[in-house]
Symmetry: C2
Subunit: 411 residues, 2 copies
Amino acid sequence: MEFTLTEDRFVETMQTQAEIGGTENGGLHRLALSDEDKEVRDWFHERMERAGLDVRIDEFGNMFGRREGTRDLEPVLVGSHLDSQPYGGIYDGALGTVAALEFVRELNDRGIETERPVEIVNWTNEEGSRFQPTLQGSGVWAGTLDVAEQYAVTDEDGVTVEEALERIGYKGDHPAEPATDYDSYLELHIEQGPYLESNEKDVGIVTGIVGLTWGEITFYGEANHSGATPMHHRSDAMVAAADVVTQVRRIPSTLGERTVGTVGSVHVQPDSINVIPGEVSVTYGFRDANAETIREAEKRVLREAEAAAEREGVTFEHEDRASADPVYFDDRCVDAVRRAADELHYDSMEVFSGGVHDATHADEVCDAGMVFAVSEDGKSHTEAEYTSWEDCYSAANTLARAALKLATDDV
Amino acid sequence: MEFTLTEDRFVETMQTQAEIGGTENGGLHRLALSDEDKEVRDWFHERMERAGLDVRIDEFGNMFGRREGTRDLEPVLVGSHLDSQPYGGIYDGALGTVAALEFVRELNDRGIETERPVEIVNWTNEEGSRFQPTLQGSGVWAGTLDVAEQYAVTDEDGVTVEEALERIGYKGDHPAEPATDYDSYLELHIEQGPYLESNEKDVGIVTGIVGLTWGEITFYGEANHSGATPMHHRSDAMVAAADVVTQVRRIPSTLGERTVGTVGSVHVQPDSINVIPGEVSVTYGFRDANAETIREAEKRVLREAEAAAEREGVTFEHEDRASADPVYFDDRCVDAVRRAADELHYDSMEVFSGGVHDATHADEVCDAGMVFAVSEDGKSHTEAEYTSWEDCYSAANTLARAALKLATDDV
């Protein structure tokens, strides 16, 4: 069967959503539960209803649209998120949500009835920019996060998630939990990495999501006069922290081909050109497809912190910030994506996701899988994020075809 | 001649000033031109008048008190500053100002007439905490800094120096410049370094002040997703900046025994645990008694920044922030201090000051010299700063005796 999306409409829908919260530089400013998020939610709501879907909003703002199947089976869930980073791109999240909408529109246009019901979804606050953590809506839905606790999370201005949901009218009536058992979950997302492009592929078959460990190390030295204190009399917290940065850069190369390590945040006290830093905190993060490798990376960075502290005559404290085991997607979902790409004659490759996605939480509820679209130069979380319409379309077709397979039990 | 200060009164005066802006932890919060600064100025003003001094306030708030000599000669100027760091100690600056006051009180008590007039001084804003730069009052007075420009400098709340001076009533009528030619300037200050204590000395004969160069290096990489971006695909500005920190720690050891180098401030953008730093700035500062060594240190750190930028695939910009040539005090001032310490049977040693002082600017106007008091553990710019009353008294006596020598042309 020939089954592809209507290309013009697909591109048109992508462009329309990109105007809601669109920035001067062609990016998106659509923080979770903001006015812009309300606007895009209203837009999505109207489009789902016009597509004949049975819309429900749960108490955490997750938006579902249901299209019945011919049989009383567990539904296939397809979607992503419409919120963005403060200055993000127009593809991250939106591409997967638009592709889900276009999938059901295409089913309607062609009069295709699926055996399983199909639901499409827009998850609340995937980005975790305004409210932490990331993947908040899907995490609550999957039961990994507690509704009451997440309601109480505040943004910089002290506004709680619950208040923000009420303000924009998206604290729905349905419980924030799976309304039914689900057969499977499929999500299309941009790769946010360079592998598809550098391998000249059309589309990526995602086999899993890397695990991660995040932590923070704070060194305590002695703030002192930068001129009057001789070098041998110093306890410089910044020098020890710099050693950690250097080692976090080095450790991945000793562990795995795809292991990554990053120091994203450094804070110095008292932060004066003229004073030896007395307190410096550095964050670290390691990711890998193998849980054991992640644990080893963390062990090594703590060993290096200890050595640096001893060298510089400072002390340190360590705090865990987050951790997640790697996710391995289910064979039937991965196969559905692979077969869809093959049948569409797209050049595909298997990739392991370096970033987390709502599929992480969906995988706790049902079988899950993902499709990746090419990210030019691997850029994301920036207005410069770019995927050509051709690559968007290939990935959306792959998603739609794979979802159709799952919904007709053709796997 | 036996000439020492009245010990009880000297300690009493030190304790009284320490109560003005005193903190819970025994330190001082007496920012330049604040309410606390006004209070200590009023106190000092009253004490100078009661000591029979002819008081004048210049248009930049510098406070002078003059005691006439027997001959029409250039005066000897003695003093320091009464302002403090946000949470500084009770000795920094105050010790030198109190010692100057006690010097003229002692002359009065003993009915000693000096050949030269003696002036004592409290300089405005030595610390440079609320308003930058440091040494502001003495810099304006010496003509190194421009009055109009310095009036316009603002604090964090947008208050200008001129407004702050007017508010506390210390924008005086006298021009901010030397009222006359001066014979010499003497200043007592705590060492702020560990050399006197570790050499078990009573007092320090300061032979000069180190020069310095301050600068800032900003690396520009590419902010990107910390999970999805492989290590070989990164342009991580933080990794390059960490190399600079490591090298600034190392470079002094290759140049000189007393060369020091410090990275005091590091700023990361976008500063998120989950994003590869796209922009990181690091400050650096080097100090040495030799101007050539300072230039060499700066040359080396820029070479290292270039190498780091190339390694990490980032670019960088360099900005000069400040520089000062080393000061070598005049022999007659250094000799006066040495002879005073010897005659008082204090165990002394020559030291080169690692920090800058108002004497830096005074040295541009007349011959200058300094006395250092022991700093326990070299601590300063912290509430934990400490000098025993015995060490304070020894240093104050050395200052007074040296000033008396200069004022009687006994050198």
